[in-house]
C-alpha cells in the first residue's frame, strides 16, 4: 500500500503538529508537521543541525516542545508514559551490553520495556529470527559482526511489539552487505504494519527504503514526498547537471549559472540543476562558462536522485 493509500485509509500512528522548540535561544524546530502511518517508512533527511534528532526527541517524549503537539497513538507521550510502550527507539550507537549474550540482551531489554516474563522466551526467539540471529542466541554480543550487532540493536527495541519504530541513523559504520540486511529487516517490519521513522545521512538508503522523505533544513520541513516525487519536483523529468568549479564565481559568472537554473552548494563551488537534451550540450556549456571566466573541475550529466534534490534545496551535500 502506498503512503497516499495509507493516508486515505488509516489514522496516523504518530502525528506532530506545528512543533517549535528553541534550544539555548536557537530555533531548533520552527513549526514542523509530521505524520507517520502504520506500514510506511518515513525518512528524515537533512544536514547536521537541521533539527532531525530534536524532532526524534520530541517524538519519543523526551523533549518538551515550546509550542505544538505530539500525538502517539492518540496520546501525548510526555503526559501518558504508558503510551510509550507503542514506541521503539533505536539509538545510533550500538546500545547493547557487550558482556551479555544475544539472548540475555534481548531478555534484559524486553523486561525493561515491560514484556511479561512468561511471554519473553517466545519474543526473544521471534526477535532473533527477525534479525537472523537465531543461531547466535548464546553468543556474546561483542563476538558478533558489525552487521549482526546493528540488527541486534534494532530488534532489541522491538520485543515489546511497538507500533512505531524510531531509528537514528541505523546503519552508520556498516558495510554494504550488512546494510542491505538491515534494509530487509526494516522492510519486513514495515510490511508487518509498523510505522518506521528513521533519520539518515545516507541518501542511497533513503532512496532504497523511503515511502516518503522529509527534508529538513534550519528546523523546517523544506520538502516532503516520495523520492520519485521529490526528484520530479526539482528536475521535471530532465537529467541532472552537476558542475564543480575550481574557483568561486564572480557576479557575471553567478548570473550565468542562475540563468541556467543551477543552484549553488558547497560555498558556490558546486552547482546543480535540471538539464534537457543530450550530452552534446556539455561542450557548448563548457565554452559558455569559460567565456565568463569559469573553469569547471567537474561537469557531468546524470540521472537525478535525492542527492541532487538536496543539493538544490539545502545547498549542502549530505552523505555518509
Amino acid at each position: 500500500m502506498s503512503s497516499a493509500e495509507a493516508a486515505a485509509h488509516e489514522q496516523p500512528i504518530l502525528s506532530i503538529r506545528q512543533a517549535a522548540k528553541r534550544l539555548g535561544g536557537w530555533p531548533a524546530l520552527r513549526g514542523v508537521d509530521l505524520t507517520l502511518f502504520p506500514g510506511e517508512i518515513l525518512v528524515l533527511l537533512g544536514p547536521n543541525g537541521a533539527g532531525k534528532s530534536t524532532l526524534l526527541s520530541a517524538a519519543c517524549g523526551r523533549l518538551a516542545l515550546d509550542t505544538g503537539t505530539v500525538s502517539l497513538a492518540g496520546e501525548d507521550p510526555r503526559r501518558v508514559a504508558g503510551v510509550r510502550a507503542q514506541l521503539g527507539f533505536v539509538p545510533q550507537h550500538l546500545a547493547v551490553y557487550p558482556y551479555l549474550t544475544v539472548r540475555e540482551n534481548l531478555e534484559v531489554f524486553g523486561r525493561m520495556m515491560g514484556v511479561p516474563r512468561s511471554a519473553l522466551p517466545a519474543r526473544v526467539r521471534e526477535a532473533a529470527a527477525w534479525a537472523g540471529l537465531s543461531g547466535r542466541l548464546d553468543a556474546h554480543s561483542d563476538a558478533l559482526s558489525g552487521g549482526m550487532r546493528r540488527r541486534l540493536n534494532i530488534v532489541a527495541s522491538l520485543l515489546h511489539r511497538p507500533r512505531v519504530l524510531l531509528l537514528d541513523e541505523p546503519t552508520v559504520g556498516v558495510d554494504m552487505d550488512a546494510r542491505e540486511r538491515v534494509h530487509e529487516l526494516l522492510r519486513r517490519l514495515r510490511d508487518d504494519g509498523l510505522g518506521v521513522l528513521l533519520t539518515t545521512h545516507d541518501l542511497a538508503q533513503a532512496e532504497a527504503l523511503a515511502d516518503r522523505v522529509l527534508v529538513m533544513l534550519d528546523g523546517r520541513i523544506r520538502l516532503a514526498g516520495s523520492p520519485a516525487q521529490l526528484v520530479e519536483s526539482e528536475f521535471h523529468g530532465m537529467q541532472e547537471l552537476k558542475l564543480v568549479l575550481r574557483e568561486v564565481p564572480d557576479a557575471p559568472g553567478r548570473a550565468l549559472l542562475r540563468s541556467l537554473d543551477l543552484r549553488p552548494a558547497r560555498g558556490e563551488l558546486a552547482w546543480t540543476g535540471p538539464v534537457a537534451g543530450d550530452f552534446s550540450r556539455l561542450g557548448e556549456l563548457d565554452a559558455r562558462l569559460r567565456e565568463v571566466g569559469l573553469t569547471p573541475a567537474e561537469l557531468r550529466v546524470r540521472a537525478p536522485g535525492l542527492e541532487g534534490v538536496l543539493l538544490r534545496v539545502t545547498g549542502e551535500e549530505i552523505g555518509p
Partner: protein, 432 residues
C-alpha cells in the same frame, strides 16, 4: 522492569574477574592490612626499637638493662664502646631512624644508685622529634623497671636522701636496712612482688567488649567497609553515564518505564553488591580475628542495610547529577577521600583533634563507624545506635528521592536547564 537492569549489572560483574577482584578481594585485603596497623598501633603491643650504650657497666646498670629487655614493648639493641664515639653512634642510629630512641647510661655522671640531684644525670635519652611519643613510653618503661626490678636501689636511694636531710640511722639500723634491701632484691629477682613497685598499686578493667584488640578490628572493619562501599557504589552508579554514552539510556527513556527503571534497578544492584562486600569484610574479621559476627548478626545486618543504602543512594545522586563519567569520578574520588579522612576511615577518630572529630559527625563514614562500634565495641543495644542509623537512613531516603528527581529533570526536562548556547538534537541524544 528494574529487575532487568539489576540482572544485567549482576551478570556484568560476574563475568568481569577484575571487577570481582576489586569489589570483594581488594577490600578484604585492605581490611587485613588496616586491622594489623590499627591493632598494632593502638593496642598494648607497640614495640619500640631502643639502641643502648651502657658506659657504666656495673651491677645496677646491668640489672636495669636486663629488666628493660624483659619488657615486651621494647626491642633493646646494645651497642658496644663508651665515650664520645659510642655516643655519636647512638645519636646517628636515632637520627637515621634505625632506632626509635637511644638510651645512654653515662659513666661521667652520678651513679645510678645514688639519690641524685647534685651532678649530671646518669640516664640520657636521645630522641627524634618525629617520634617524640617514644620518649614518654621509654621513660615509663624505665620507671617501671627501676621500681619493679631494682626496688633495693630505689628504696636505698630514698633512705639515703632521708639520712641526708632528716635523720641519722644507727649502725644497727644500717645493718637491718642492708638486710631488708637484700631481701627486696631477692624478691625482685625471683619475680615476687616487693610491694615497692608502682604497678602493684594499679588494677586494669576494660570497659569495651572483648578487649581492645577485637574492638579495633571491629573499628577497622567498619572503616574499610564504608570507604570501599562508597568507591564501589560510585563505580557501579557511573555505569548510568556509560549507558548515556552508548545509547542504552536513549532506548530505555523512550520506553514506558523511563529513567526510573535504570535508576532504581542500579540502586537495587548496588545495595546487593554492597551488602555482600561488607559481609566479606566482616566475615574475614570473624574468621581471621575472632570478631563475634554471629553473635551480633541481626544488628549488624540492619546497620549494614542502612549503610549500604546510604552509600548507594549518594552514588546514584552523583551519577544522575553529573554529565560525564570523568566528571563523576573526579568529584567522587575527591569527596570520598575527604569524608573518609574526616570520618575516621583512614585514621582512628580517637587520634584526631577534637575539632576534626566533631566535623566527622557530618560524614556518613562516622555514622557507619559509630553504629558498627556500638555493636561490636561497646555492645550497645540497638536503641543506642538509632541516631547514626537514622542519619544514614534519612540520607539514603533523601538521596534516593533526589536522584530520581534529578534524573527525571535531566532526561526529560533539559529545556529548562540549557545554557544560552546553540545545542542541536544530536547533543540532546548524547552525540555531541
Amino acid at each position: 522492569m528494574s529487575v532487568a537492569i539489576f540482572r544485567a549489572m549482576l551478570l556484568g560483574l560476574l563475568r568481569d574477574r577484575g571487577a570481582l577482584l576489586m569489589s570483594f578481594v581488594l577490600p578484604a585485603v585492605f581490611f587485613v592490612i588496616m586491622a594489623e596497623i590499627f591493632t598494632a598501633t593502638t593496642g598494648d603491643t607497640l614495640n619500640l626499637d631502643v639502641a643502648v650504650v651502657d658506659e657504666i657497666g656495673d651491677d645496677t646498670s646491668t640489672r636495669l638493662l636486663a629488666a628493660l629487655e624483659q619488657s615486651p614493648a621494647l626491642r633493646i639493641e646494645r651497642l658496644g664502646g663508651a665515650g664520645e664515639a659510642a655516643r655519636r653512634t647512638l645519636r646517628e642510629r636515632v637520627r637515621r631512624g634505625l632506632a626509635d630512641v637511644g638510651l645512654l647510661l653515662r659513666a661521667d655522671a652520678e651513679p645510678l644508685d645514688s639519690a641524685g640531684g647534685f651532678g649530671p644525670e646518669p640516664i640520657v635519652i636521645y630522641s627524634d622529634p618525629a617520634r617524640a611519643v617514644a620518649v614518654p613510653m621509654l621513660v615509663g618503661r624505665i620507671r617501671q623497671a627501676y621500681f619493679g626490678a631494682l626496688p633495693d636501689v630505689a628504696m636505698g636511694n630514698v633512705v639515703a636522701e632521708l639520712e641526708n636531710q632528716f635523720l641519722t640511722l644507727t649502725e644497727e639500723q644500717h645493718a637491718e636496712l642492708a638486710e631488708g634491701l637484700a631481701e627486696l632484691r631477692e624478691d625482685a629477682e625471683a619475680g615476687r612482688s616487693s610491694g615497692w613497685s608502682f604497678e602493684d598499686m594499679l588494677a586494669f578493667e576494660p570497659v569495651a567488649g572483648d578487649g581492645g584488640r577485637l574492638s579495633l578490628v571491629a573499628y577497622s572493619a567498619g572503616a574499610v567497609a564504608f570507604m570501599f562501599l562508597l568507591f564501589a557504589s560510585v563505580h557501579g552508579a557511573v555505569s548510568l553515564l556509560e549507558e548515556q554514552e552508548n545509547g542504552v539510556l536513549d532506548r530505555v527513556l523512550a520506553g514506558p518505564g523511563g529513567i526510573g527503571v535504570l535508576v532504581n534497578g542500579k540502586f537495587l544492584y548496588l545495595v546487593l553488591q554492597g551488602v555482600l562486600q561488607v559481609a566479606v569484610i566482616f566475615g574475614v574479621g570473624w574468621l581471621g580475628y575472632g570478631l563475634d559476627l554471629p553473635g551480633h548478626f541481626l544488628p549488624w545486618l540492619l546497620v549494614t542495610l542502612v549503610a549500604v543504602a546510604c552509600a548507594s543512594a549518594l552514588a546514584m545522586l552523583l551519577a544522575t547529577a553529573c554529565t560525564t563519567r570523568r566528571q563523576a569520578q573526579t568529584i567522587a574520588n575527591t569527596a570520598i577521600l575527604i569524608v573518609s579522612a574526616l570520618g575516621g576511615s583512614m585514621v582512628p577518630r580517637i587520634f584526631m583533634p577534637e575539632s576534626l572529630q566533631q566535623l566527622g559527625w557530618l560524614t556518613p563514614n562516622t555514622w557507619a563507624l559509630e553504629a558498627y562500634s556500638g555493636i561490636f565495641w561497646r555492645e550497645d543495644p540497638l536503641i543506642e545506635i538509632l541516631a547514626p542509623m537514622g542519619a544514614m537512613f534519612g540520607t539514603a531516603l533523601l538521596a534516593w528521592l533526589a536522584a530520581n528527581a534529578v534524573a527525571q529533570q535531566r532526561m526529560y526536562g533539559r529545556a529548562t536547564r540549557l545554557r544560552p548556547t546553540r545545542r542541536t538534537g544530536d547533543q540532546l541524544l548524547g552525540k555531541g
